[in-house]
């Protein structure tokens, strides 16, 4: 651990690892914001139109259900490459961070939608019936009863998703998205540089730990 080691290490940190931390953070934030927004909308529609829903519409439900299942059946890497013509149209490029965000955000949308639907279903039916007897509309029941009741489980769902998709961003290197995964693989493992490899792992570990910490904190507050 002499001075030379540290100067080399800081050079790597400055030019390779540092930018990749920001790349990973940008990707995971974008994925989570888009995924949560659309995942929530899809989950609300699923619960409204679903078999136990307040406004049961079998055909619409089946279409949505089919879409969520189809997206969820793609392994993330395959989704990234299979979607590249769509990515080109929407984002204007098939490479780099922006190209990785779209497929991952779509995968996250489906993932969040399914998990949130599951938490919504868990809400006590008697509560819903009680609200109905007071004359509440479907929209009121969804937002004032179902969503409100499942806030703690929504928080744990989003924590889980953030950690799952943090590891998914490490695949973004396949389309030149960079990020810690690509650095760990190219500059660490394949370059026989264990310092870089385990530094990246440690940073990912800290990120996971931090996400879980915030998740737990919010979960406690929400109860």
């Amino acid at each position: 651990m002499d001075a030379e080691f540290w100067s080399v290490f800081f050079r790597y940190f400055d030019r390779v690892i540092g930018p990749s931390i920001f790349a990973t953070l940008r990707m995971i934030s974008a994925i989570m914001i888009i995924g949560t927004l659309f995942g929530f909308i899809v989950a609300v529609l699923l619960i409204l139109y679903g078999p136990y829903g307040l406004d049961h519409r079998p055909r619409l439900y089946k279409i949505l259900d089919f879409l969520v299942n189809s997206i969820r059946s793609f392994p993330v890497l395959i989704l990234i490459v299979a979607m590249s013509p769509v990515t080109k149209q929407v984002m204007g490029t098939t490479i780099g961070e922006r190209a990785a965000i779209l497929p991952l955000a779509i995968a996250a949308t489906a993932f969040i939608a399914r998990l949130l639907e599951n938490s919504f279903i868990e809400v006590d039916k008697q509560l819903i019936e009680a609200a109905q007897s007071f004359g509440a509309t479907s929209i009121q029941i969804v937002f004032r009863v179902i969503v409100k009741e499942s806030i703690p489980s929504m928080i744990s769902t989003l924590t889980l998703t953030a950690i799952t998709f943090l590891s998914a961003t490490t695949i973004a290197g396949a389309v030149g998205g960079g990020g810690l995964g690509a650095v760990a693989l190219n500059y660490g493992y394949q370059s026989f540089n264990n310092v870089i490899l385990y530094t990246c792992v440690l940073i990912l570990f800290i990120m996971v730990w931090f996400i879980q910490f915030i998740g737990n904190l919010l979960y406690k507050r929400s109860q």
Binding site: V8, R11, Y12, R15, V16, V81, S84, T93, T94, I95, G96, G173, A174, V175, G176, G178, A182, N186, Y187, Q190, S191, F192, N193
Partner: protein, 275 residues
């Protein structure tokens, strides 16, 4: 439950039956070849050179050799199989790769001359016609794995776009770039996807073969690395076998005019035969 076991039993019976048939067929083949005193050879390859082997196979048949070619799907698999003497030869990896493989594993694989072919590594661009035309802030997609990254950076230095300082790690990487007057931005991509980014960037550095796979002209490069010829891809055998008659016959076939014509027609310049 009863039905489940019956189905399971049936499935087991069928599998074992198929297995027995498979084994007995193999042994009968071996007997047949022994009777005719023909030499059976197993050559390993990957999909890239798979079409080449049948051309050689045909010619070798007349000389009394029966080649069975085995297509692997990972770079190290044929070399491992050859090191274990499960196959007699392989045609895929380039010579420096084989040498590294030897030093990391206790194998003694050799590449006998004459060499067959090499794949040029080159700069391709759909936007610019020459290296001089490459503008300020141009984006280059390179293959991100360290060996290819190192070769690509050296190419960028050779054409005068960047200069490299001392190697920091085992390989040259972007942290070793010292001067970058045109502020070339480098995008590190997975080697299999680099060529796909050609429409999105100013230029890519890829193997000519990748261009052919992407239905682009492999000879349309704006600069080809002259070093490429030092990476021969040829027949690889275990040390001690390099002077065997079948190796000499195999390589002799690759030097014939009819083989060269077929090869060049198929690979359209994405692989170059040695003169």
């Amino acid at each position: 439950m009863n039905r489940f076991f019956k189905t399971l039993l049936l499935a087991l019976c069928i599998t074992s039956l198929l297995f027995t048939i498979g084994c007995s067929q193999q042994s009968s083949q071996e007997v047949a070849s022994a009777e005719q005193e023909r030499v059976a050879l197993k050559i390993g390859t990957l999909s890239t050179f798979e079409p080449v082997i049948p051309w050689i196979e045909e010619e070798m048949k007349e000389l009394g050799y029966d080649i069975e070619h085995i297509v692997f799907d990972g770079h190290t698999l044929p070399a491992t199989a050859l090191g274990n003497k499960e196959i007699d030869g392989l045609f895929h990896n380039h010579k420096p790769w084989i040498e590294t493989f030897n030093s990391l594993n206790s194998t003694n694989l050799v590449v006998p001359e004459p060499y067959i072919t090499y794949g040029p590594l080159a700069i391709y661009s759909l936007k610019h016609d020459s290296v001089e035309d490459i503008p300020q802030n141009a984006q280059f997609a390179l293959m991100g794995d360290p060996t290819n990254m190192e070769r690509s950076l050296i190419i960028l230095q050779d054409v005068g776009l960047i200069t490299l300082g001392d190697k920091t790690g085992e390989f040259y990487s972007i942290i070793d770039i010292e001067e970058n007057p045109k502020n070339i931005r480098i995008l590190e991509t997975e080697s299999a996807t680099t060529v796909r980014s050609i429409e999105d960037v100013d230029a890519v550095i890829v193997y000519a073969h990748r261009m052919m796979q992407a239905s682009l002209d492999p000879t349309s490069y704006i600069y080809a690395d002259p070093e490429s010829a030092n990476y021969p891809q040829s027949l690889v055998v275990n040390e001690g076998n390099e002077n065997e008659q079948w190796v000499i016959d195999f390589l002799a076939i690759t030097q014939t005019e009819s083989f060269r014509d077929k090869f060049n027609e198929y690979y359209q310049g994405s692989y170059i035969l040695y003169e």
